[in-house]
């Protein structure tokens, strides 16, 4: 809502760092929100001014209570509204009079409460735009800034100061995360419940955190994003400076899209979010536990330089379990140098395992355990260490923890710890966490978090990019074709039209002609050269095969005559209402690999490209990945690599590999197509048939608006 980045940063700064606060609706009724908010402020160490406003009281909790904002003579940085929804517009007017520029609306009863509430929401929103007041909420539970002892909302406790920012669309999750964090010594720069995001939204906050020195890592809980393009733009910029980790709810809420094409069927809303996060460089996690675990590691440990992990344990079993998890996630055990192995041999008993995973044995002392961890960490073949300590032996867990903490100065690589158990290791955990070692209850969790660190690291490691050649496309012709279909009020282009548009973007198809009579069909078949394929041409038919509208492998003149008749008779009986524009006579092409290249245009995020294994089994294998358009060559290369199709076309089991550069050309060109032609809402090339010589679009669907 705020066009100026600087103005936005400034206003968010004021919200998170207010010097004076008015609580409108403060109350003595312990069950009211206003009472809780005022009490939280009052009982905190917050040093700014706090004003209670409520005409019903003259004093609350022995503090003066003002009957209206106008009675307060000092300046107010933020007004907190904890009153029923219908009172809000009036109160905002009062805030204006008082020249208050930030308002937090805790109240609910808007968008979730029927038409009346929705109207109220709209009214308030336009009021605030008019008056240039910034709103956080409604339906939020507040802001915490532990660095200034601010608990502005109804959180039951204060967070520890730290370097994590947390932005969340679920107040409930905030409360629980806060409780866990306090228990595990995890600190925050600030903690924001954004509620319905009438005004201040994810992008506004990210823009603020981008330059906030206190914030090293940003956590987000997201339910939906509306201005997707701005979000990607801001998040990309932020991700260049500090990690963003997001938990997105609603994976299961998809399938609303009508399946007009393979791409449409496979491109659930959630895959778009995946692509958007990938584009921005946001690390996505899959569960609350993972968000929390990953946050612990990112907030206090350096990122590993590479993926080679050493696992050190004083027990065999947990080390194997950790290794299992590592390998199942595609991770890599480090190979220790001979020098390290020699050092380990000197220090470990003969029957200890000195190859990674290293088992120092249950009778290892605190010194031996910690020494082994540090030696592995110093090994040049090792990028990170997971240290797993179990309590079976006689070594005191807290001693082992302290010894490791004391020795950590010798290395600058990440060490994740897992002191297994509960009460027996409580003291050790506390020591480790306070000293900056994320400690995990189970070895598998430590490994999962390490893999997330690697995922983040790899997504943010870029090679020097070559200047990319700029292609020119025949945008004008493509748009003319679309306009022509638009004039006819069609939502679907014919296959021929779709392929002509692909031509405009240098994506070839086999030679083909439209035949409207059997004579023409035969003529074109001979001209093209047998074998040919014939396909019904109709803007009304999506799945041509289903209505008998496709005949393959037509080998001669006779078969061509027969096929033309067959297609007409099938289609007129199976789809009697469909307009038949003719029959497409096309060169029959055999190429080894059938790929899918598609795109959908998302309302919030814009066009997203899909790539993967194509053919008729595409929904069965579901081997596709998506990326936001437009794509650079690097993006296209990454998109290909995210699929099993990549393994196949790279020369699987001795089969010839395709020319990947040519495939990248096609995908990049295709991404320009969907980016340029704003009227196309869905495209599907399936199959895009390829072999070592090149590729051709054998079929294409395009939907327009």
């Amino acid at each position: 809502m705020f066009s100026s980045k600087i103005a936005n940063e400034k206003s968010v700064h004021t919200m998170l760092n207010p010097k004076s606060i008015a609580v409108i609706g403060a109350s003595e009724n312990a069950k009211s929100i206003g009472s809780v908010v005022f009490k939280n402020l009052l009982h905190s160490k917050f040093e700014g001014s706090i004003y209670a406003v409520n005409p019903k009281y003259s004093a609350i909790l022995d503090q003066p209570c003002y009957s209206s904002l106008q009675d307060i003579h000092e300046e107010i940085d933020i007004a907190v509204l904890a009153t029923p929804a219908e009172t809000i517009p009036d109160l905002i007017d009062q805030c204006c009079l008082k020249n208050i520029q930030s308002v937090m609306i805790l109240s609910s009863g808007f968008n979730e409460s029927g038409e009346e509430g929705q109207q109220l929401y709209k009214d308030i929103k336009s009021l605030c735009v008019d008056k240039q007041i910034r709103i956080i909420g409604p339906n939020c539970i507040g802001i915490i800034n532990p660095w200034i002892d601010l608990n502005l909302g109804f959180y039951s406790k204060q967070a520890l100061p730290g370097n994590l920012a947390f932005i969340s669309q679920s107040g409930a999750l905030n409360a629980s995360i806060l409780d866990w964090a306090v228990d595990q010594n995890v600190g925050f720069s600030s903690f924001v419940s954004v509620g319905s995001m009438m005004d201040v939204n994810f992008s506004d906050l990210l823009e603020y955190y981008e330059n906030d020195d206190k914030t090293d890592c940003i956590l987000m809980y997201i339910e939906n994003i509306e201005q997707g393009k701005r979000f990607i733009e801001v998040a990309s910029r932020v991700c260049d400076k500090k990690p963003i980790i997001a938990l997105k709810a609603g994976r299961s809420r998809q399938g609303a899209r009508v399946a007009a094409s393979h791409t449409g069927a496979l491109a659930g809303n959630d895959k778009i979010y995946d692509a958007a996060f990938e584009k921005a460089g946001i690390l996505r996690v899959d569960s609350v536990a993972e968000l929390f675990h990953v946050a612990k590691a990112f907030s206090i440990q350096p990122l590993p330089r590479g993926k080679r992990l050493a696992i050190v344990s004083n027990a065999g079993g947990p080390a194997v379990l950790a290794t299992d998890m590592l390998i199942s996630k595609g991770g890599e055990l480090a190979t220790l140098t001979d020098a390290t192995i020699s050092i380990l041999k000197e220090n470990l008993p003969s029957h200890a395992a000195k190859v990674n995973p290293i088992d120092v044995m249950d009778d290892a002392s605190a010194e031996t355990f910690s020494h082994t961890v540090i030696q592995c960490s110093k090994d040049k073949n090792v990028d990170a260490v997971i240290a797993i300590f179990t309590t079976q032996g006689l070594t005191n867990p807290a001693d082992a923890a302290q010894m490791l903490i004391d020795s950590y100065t010798e290395t600058d690589k990440p060490i994740l710890t897992c002191w297994m158990g509960e009460g027996d290791v409580a003291k050790a955990r506390d020591l480790l966490e306070k000293a900056g070692f994320p400690n995990f209850r189970y070895p598998e969790n430590a490994v999962s978090v390490f893999q997330k660190m690697i995922e983040y690291k790899e997504a943010h490691t870029f090679e020097e990019k070559e200047e990319e050649e700029v292609q020119t496309y025949d945008v004008e012709l493509a748009q003319t074709i679309i306009q022509y279909a638009g004039v006819q009020d069609r939502e679907r282009l014919t296959e021929m039209e779709a392929k002509r548009i692909l031509d405009c973007y240098h994506i070839s198809s086999p030679e083909s002609h439209i035949a409207t009579s059997v004579e023409e069909a035969k003529y074109y078949a001979v001209q093209i050269g047998f074998p040919v394929v014939m396909k019904v041409l109709s803007p009304d038919i999506g799945h041509k095969i289903d209505v008998g509208g496709v005949i393959l492998n037509i080998n001669d003149y006779k078969e061509a005559e027969y096929a033309f008749g067959e297609i007409f008779s099938h289609v007129t009986s199976e789809a009697p209402d469909a307009e038949i524009m003719g029959v497409l006579v096309e060169k029959m092409v055999h190429k080894k690999y059938e790929l899918l290249i598609g795109a959908v245009r998302d309302k919030a995020f814009g066009p997203a490209i899909m790539f993967g294994m194509g053919g008729s089994l595409v929904e069965l294998w579901n081997d596709t990945h998506m990326a936001m358009a437009p794509l650079t060559r690097d993006d296209a290369c990454h998109l290909i690599k995210m699929t099993k199709a990549h393994t196949l076309i790279s020369g699987f089991r001795g089969m010839p590999a395709i020319n990947k550069e040519k495939l990248i050309d096609v995908i990049v060109n295709f991404s320009h197509l969907i980016n340029d032609l704003q009227n196309i809402v869905e495209v599907d090339i399936n199959p895009f048939a390829m072999d070592e010589k090149g590729g051709l679009a054998l079929d294409a669907h395009m939907l327009i608006k």
Copy 2:
């Protein structure tokens, strides 16, 4: 080692319930194992007799110490040996003299300690067989039986009494699990560290727990199983009475198998364990956390009758996250009856979500929350409820917990709980866990556990079985063919031989003949009818295509002549040392679906069948599942259903479905083949080509020993 089931149960019972114990190696040296063990016993409430044995002392911790076993005049149920490995044989002799029938060896220094240790291990093992002494260990950390206050070993604490048995090959894991369990009020019937399983092994213990009234559920941590067939047999029997949940380490330790066939390449050791566990009915979990979570639920909640889950929460976000996890794991949200929805409407505010997942809103009272959970639980469309409580509102978490506990009498369906947070919900968690509600930190964990309960339930729900028709097979001919190859010292049968063996088990192949000259080749091609395929026949060639030994689509007399020559020239140049027995001329068959049916013979578990998508991309998709042979029709049906191939052949996207009964016939027959013919170590039919009319083995590999 014990042939008699009754004798085994009796001796294990004595080990877990001893009345008198001798600790050999008891000591005053606080750092020695013997000292810890003796102290643990002494400081416990164990009411049996405890004797310290050590010639070095006359008293330990103010208790008399005997210089040898012979000095003790009472009977001893179990002797604990906590002395160096090399002293063990002598001590066992002394145990014999004293007529002690059970010995626990805590010592290490055997199999893991080079040749000397291994010899010692063997010596002790045969000594015990001779003397009919039962051994637990060596290299174990002991036994806990909380019902008699027994802590026999070096566990740092006693377990709570309960109904879970835990058997583990990792002492370290035992110690950690025990610590967690005490923290979370999880109780045990007993807790056994089996160590190297010189004698008492998993099967022996399972056999005991089968009839142990105190045990309702058995947990196992497994690193390797040696006598696989007995294990499956015993575990199957036990699983009919009580659940077994297993964590198997070493998923990543596979790939040792040499890839002589597709099946061989895909059948890692871990897939065999999967198949063995499935055969026995054991529920496999993937991590320590999951073992622990699942155990909590299985020990105190009834199993759901079906898979329809209701999710009730006082916050939208966590409910959506739980739903995401449920759907991603293939679970099912219950559809509430209108009656339940009406009741909810009466009790919940207008803007609360009354369809599953149910959001009672943050201001719901303890009564409203608990009432909603119970109403959902009572709904006839609901099989289980997950109740997620967050601390954002004003409702006290402990009150909500207590209210739910008090109301639970109204329903008999499982309720899993997730009071989110840490310190704020500590009291509520304690209440819930003590009252028999497994409580999880994160909503996703509760859902995962619920899905495991369903997995277990479904694996143990059998329909009435029809009497299966007994097939007769030409075992004699099959064995003659194998013997013939054996006489020739071959490890690989030719394709023709393999197909003849398949014939003996009613698995058909296309018509084929061996041609040794071009004239014969042409003659057979004509006789079979074009098109035909020709394949080199050689016992030395595994991958015929790789040496140019296969030509498809031979359409006439001329092409046949040419193909025969080509194959000879390719093969003699590519594999000059291979013996060429001729060329197989075979009918060219086109069928829509290419499947894989294979088998490997595992050393521990015996033959296992593999089924899945076949063809040349089989390793790429890795869409296979395994099951232990022999298979009933139900087993075969289940095996098929575990693959994506099942979706494909069931009529995917309007394609014709195959006759599944015929496929089941083939798989059942194939399972008899590998079960009957003990000399076959690996078989691979790929592709087994099928369409709606039936199936044919187009290629077959068999390896023999």
